[in-house]
Amino acid sequence: MALAEPGLEAATAELLFALADDDFVLGFADSEWTGIAPHLEEDVAMSSLAQDEIGHAAAYYGLLAALTAGDPDQIAYDRPAEAFRHARLVDHGRGDWARTMARRWLYDTANAVRLEALAGSSCGPLADLVLKVRREETYHLLHGEAWLERLARAGGESRRRLIDALELVGPDAPSVLAPLPSESALVGAGIQPVAGAELRKRWSGRIDPVLDRLGLALPAAAAAALDPLTARSGHGPAFAGLWTEFESVRGLDREATW
């Protein structure tokens, strides 16, 4: 499987790590709701969403493994925390239900814009996978928007918590679409056909009308969320805890076969 032309392996890997780590970290954070979501149906829904994200991450790690002749499980579980390249948006830890829903909606909408562009990637195996991922993400988009609307329109504590959540994670939301350090090479080769700045414009075009309709606003982007050098590094204490948790079982015996 020719995943990258000579000279473009590192840039392609950078893109795949961003896609994979976003879904992996978000999936693990969301899986913490299993058993304690607000009601049973939502418990099932959140578990499914988390399962999807881990599944998507596993598929991206599979492409990385093919690219580097490595092993997907090693790539996922045997990396130090600081080597993860997930966006700042998904670095905040689970928080309350409003934070989880605000983060899900912001992530799903940004991810949808990113995946739409990647469906036209010159990297064939990635474009194929993205086609399937996008179909599954349709359910995520519906779920996220329904909850955003529900919390926003409920007023009282629900709305207040949602606004608090948007204040907290909102400044980091554009980090999902921040340019990668290798963006010019990726765009030049058509691996990532659309640059981050254009993706963010398209994303705003999607979410601004929804926010307006609900009388909500997204705080200005944090400078760190737009800088290629900080949008996906310098993780906080919440991720350190999550990393310790998800790495712990494999850490018991790295040679074990499951």
Binding site: Q51, E53, A58, D128, R135, E136
Partner: protein, 179 residues
């Protein structure tokens, strides 16, 4: 040499027919009423240079049954290697996304089997809105055939199933999702 193996008749170009027959006998581990062939998750099956290659198209990427399905296929096809007439030296089972699985891949026999087991088969593909048709269109109750049904949860007991309720016969039921 006398052999009681069915491979005696499955030599040469018939090998792939034999493979298809074996695959048609493997059921979905989560819904044993339907075979993996009728479910439409078997993609390309090729035999070249001694390698029998089977592609699996997952209904959902994170499906936890995939490893079991792959292992079962490899196990059931292994006997082909022992029969020299098949010219199969190795069997590979890989997951492919080159052609995404959709509910349109479920055969008519598969749809009938799903309905008989209390599942509403996924409705036909809505090209511009992948996945949405399940939630927008009303599922048909597999028990009484009514269209007066509501979505209880887009996320069911497995990733490929959603939960619905029939307001006529008052039965909850599941639908196989669009994928």
């Amino acid at each position: 040499m006398i052999s009681s193996s069915p491979a005696r008749e499955a030599a040469g170009s018939d090998v792939l027919d034999w493979v298809q027959a074996i695959l048609a006998g493997i059921v979905d581990p989560e819904i044993p009423a339907i075979s993996i062939v009728d479910l439409g998750i078997v993609g390309g099956v090729t035999l070249a240079g001694g390698t029998l290659a089977v592609e699996i198209l997952p209904t959902f990427i994170g499906c936890p049954a995939l490893d079991l399905i792959r292992a079962t296929i490899a196990e059931r096809l292994a006997p082909l290697r022992e029969n020299v007439t098949t010219r199969v030296e190795r069997v590979t089972v890989t997951i492919s996304y080159a052609e995404p699985w959709t509910a349109a891949r479920i055969t008519e026999r598969g749809r009938t089997a799903l309905t008989a087991s209390g599942f509403a088969p996924a409705q036909r593909e809505h090209e511009s809105l992948p996945g949405l048709v399940n939630l927008v269109a009303r599922a048909t109750c597999p028990y009484c055939g009514s269209r007066r049904t509501v979505v209880e949860n887009a996320f069911g007991p497995t990733r490929c199933r959603s939960i619905h309720y029939c307001t006529d016969c008052r039965q909850p039921f599941e639908q196989f999702k669009e994928g």
